[in-house]
Symmetry: C2
Subunit: 112 residues, 2 copies
DNA sequence: GCGGAATATTCCTTGACAGGAATATTCTTT
DNA sequence: AAAGAATATTCCTGTCAAGGAATATTCCGC
């Protein structure tokens, strides 16, 4: 799992851009307008998102249309799958290490 | 979706802690040892993870056992679901806005 | 090619955060 | 109560990233 994706999504403005682009691809100017960001800020955030693979650009006429790339999100879901059993199997949170400590505690109670 | 979760996972060491705790709950000392982090660093990272709701602490004897909380991960998955159709329905990435621009391009071609 | 629109980049400043070292705190045991 | 183990917090420093302003670049229409 690439942590750059998390870093990209960690900024509220960038998260907002992703949420906005979910509804459809947009040029920079519109994104800036919708999120009330300056144009340079928007471009810079889009750069970070692009470097994380979350967006890709499609030049069209005078504008540059940004659209979401789903691949990183799919990878994110794949990563999440590895945790899924933790809440599906209602796994009891105490693991081996805890059980060992439990035995230590029992020894303590035994002594007192 | 709480962006604090992304921020917490954006740091490689914290991501490593989460991955480690997936295998089972552990006290601070062991976490530090496994990831070759200093004890203070580990405590600080665990603090951030706890504030993001990703871990919770369970005092046991002399130690403090940290365990994963799956709730934020479930919320993350729920959030991802809203994007799922984007790659399941093989949605063509060109949206209304793009089609409008396409028409503009057609006009241009028509003129030349 | 020129003017202008749309976007990208640079420079600067400021704030947030990671890491290290030292210290404080908490709990346990005796 | 005292000592020690385990953990948390504080202080400090360096680095990086976000935001604003200005400028550079790219691309279209004429």
């Amino acid at each position: 799992m690439n942590v750059m994706v998390f870093r990209a999504l960690a900024d509220p403005n960038r998260f907002g851009i992703v949420e906005l682009l979910k509804e459809g691809s947009l040029p920079v100017g519109i994104i800036a307008e919708r999120l009330e960001l300056s144009q340079p800020q928007t471009s810079k955030h889009l750069r970070v998102l692009a470097e994380a693979g979350l967006v890709q650009v499609e030049p069209s006429a005078n504008k540059r249309i940004y659209q979401l790339r789903t691949v990183p999100l799919q990878e994110l879901e794949t990563w999440l799958q590895t945790y899924r059993r933790m809440w599906e199997e209602k796994f009891d949170n105490l693991d081996d290490y805890l059980h060992q400590l439990q035995q230590v505690d029992n020894n303590k109670d035994h002594k007192e």
